[in-house]
Amino acid sequence: MNAPRFFSTALQYVFLATAAFLSIFPFIWMVISSTNTSIDIISGRTGIGEAFATNVANFFTQVDVPLVFWNSTKVAVLATLLTIVVSSLAGYGFEMFRSKARDRIYALVLLTLMVPFAALMIPLFMMMAKSGLINTHIAIMLPTIASAFIIFYFRQSTKAFQTELRDAAKVDGLKEWQIFLYIYVPVMRSTYAAAFVIVFMTNWNNYLWPLIVLQSNETKTITLVVSSLASAYYPDYGVVMIGTILATLPTLLVFFVMQRQFVQGMLGSVK
């Protein structure tokens, strides 16, 4: 290897190693901190401590873990399933059905991506309040169901779905909803898997909107609980780190289980 080539390769490795370290550092720091006491964490201790069991015990004492996890799981899974059903139907429809208004409506849908959530919070809150949905999980799920980004993602993926498959299915006697259910969904399963990972993570980590609409401890999700632990007058950062680890685990699990399908879905579902 000549000198310029060596220098170039070395630079690439240094850059990649730095990026990898920066990516993984918060996770490592979170895990290490969960074994230390709050005082050790604040003082900047970076070694593994002995307070892990205490932190876990304190966390389980302070938090109704089964209820909080049930709330988070219920909200994330239901919202994800509903989002995927609605958005994939919309993506399929936008791609398969020709109409003069199609592209205009689609452009309007995409325009909603440009509206920041901060601008929607107050009108949404008022809508939910008028509907009597404040402090309910439905209030968290409703605004997330029709996701412009996931509709866009499904429409783009549907471009790879052979229209002749739809024609063949029609000749075989299937109605449109049956084509969607029996042909489109199985053929596009990688797209669904990728969408599931993305939407599940978004819903699981959803913080701002639940913070606004959920007011009682019985309805709160894990992100809110961890946040409330961290904003206490004397926060126990060891306990916060345990909560953060537990909050991270389901998204990691979903990603690892669906990793192969996720990658395939991001690259294009149909082969």
Binding site: D167, A168, K170, V171, G173
Partner: protein
């Protein structure tokens, strides 16, 4: 098998008319090929017969029943698509039996039909494979098998061999011809490949811009084309066209002098009375219908551009004038070089006369 009748069939997309009033009669058991260049409307017409495109106006009957608004699955048709359109998540067996299962047929009957079709198409060892584990030719056979099991009145093929390589295409062409003989069903087959059309069809329908230009048996179209479009489309390499002018008309014969070489004149028999002296006409001569010097009714001097020697025959690309280029097929000529001047014979019996608008003068 059933007959198919199309009466003034039209297809419009807004103001644009794609199919412009097609009248066609396809007899039961006939193998009909729709042929034409890209965009001529042949696939659209097939999809209208299948029920995958709405019919804007006109009437379609299959087996005597009007089918304009009937669901594709209830028209008694089965369709083979260019891309095979096999369901990728199903095995070969499931693909072939899917329509039957969906129609509520008993499991034993489905198995029996699938096994019969698999035997005919030699697909038995592949029944439990998914489409992605099959070659192009095998996928095409599965697509045909999926059509066979439905026992349709009419088979519709939409350019089924276009995605196959040349060798496999020839093989599958023979297979389809054998299958038609065995099943004796009505077949409507779309292709842009005139060799497929000539070899498979009982009847060819030549389409251009949504209009049927001519309908007839393959050799009828070859021997007696109705216009320059059909004459140019049927036959490979395509027919040569030479501009000319009517020099004399006498005793049921017309003498045409070529524009590029006025000294070359050919006298042809004529029944039409619409031609007058001085009219611009076109002389059509197929590449294989040129003769050696001294063998025809007239002689034409051409300058050779390129000669392709294929072993069994040679194609000579030459020009008569700067604007008129011709192709000559010659069985013997192996030593023709570029820029060489070649004198070839043309015969009245092997020439076609067309008027200024490209219509045949008989």
């Amino acid at each position: 098998m059933a007959e198919v009748r199309l009466t003034d069939i039209r297809k419009r997309f807004g103001a644009l008319e794609i199919i412009k009033g097609v009248d066609l009669s396809i007899e039961a058991g006939e193998f009909v090929v729709f042929v034409g260049p890209s965009g001529c409307g042949k696939s659209t017409l097939l999809r209208m017969i299948a029920g995958l495109e709405d019919i804007s106006s006109g009437e379609l009957t299959i087996g005597g029943a009007v089918m304009n608004d009937v669901d594709p699955s209830k028209r008694g048709i089965a369709m083979v698509f260019q891309s095979y359109a096999l369901y990728p998540h199903m095995t070969v067996r499931e693909n072939m039996g899917f329509a039957l299962k969906f129609a509520g047929m008993a499991r034993e009957e489905i198995d029996s039909r699938v096994n019969d079709a698999a035997r005919i198409l030699e697909l038995e060892p592949l029944l439990d494979r998914k489409p992605k584990a099959l070659s192009g030719g095998q996928r095409q056979r599965v697509a045909i098998g999926r059509a066979i099991v439905r026992n349709p009145l009419v088979f519709l093929f939409d350019e089924p061999l276009s995605n196959l390589d040349a060798e496999l295409r020839v093989h599958m062409r023979v297979e389809i011809a054998k299958l038609h003989k065995e099943l004796k069903s009505t077949v409507i087959y779309v292709t842009h490949d005139q060799v497929e059309a000539m070899t498979l069809a009982d009847k060819i329908v030549v389409l251009r811009s949504g209009i049927v230009e001519q309908v007839g048996a393959p050799l009828e179209l070859y021997d007696d084309p109705a216009n320059t479009f059909v004459a140019g489309f049927i036959g490979s390499p395509r027919m040569n066209f030479l501009k000319g002018r009517v020099a004399t008309i006498a005793d049921g014969h017309v003498t045409v002098a070529l524009t590029s070489q006025p000294e070359v004149a050919l006298t042809l028999p004529i029944a039409s009375t619409s031609v007058t002296t001085g009219d611009a006409v076109t002389l059509g001569i197929r590449p294989e219908h040129f003769f050696a010097q001294g063998m025809g009714d007239a002689e034409l001097a051409v300058e050779v551009d390129v000669a392709e020697h294929l072993g069994n025959t040679s194609y000579v690309y030459a020009h008569v004038s700067d604007s008129e280029r011709i192709i000559i097929e010659h069985g013997d000529v192996r030593k023709i070089a570029s820029r060489e001047t070649l004198t070839i014979g043309i015969a009245a019996s092997r020439s076609f006369l067309f008027d200024d608008e490209g219509n045949r003068i008989r």
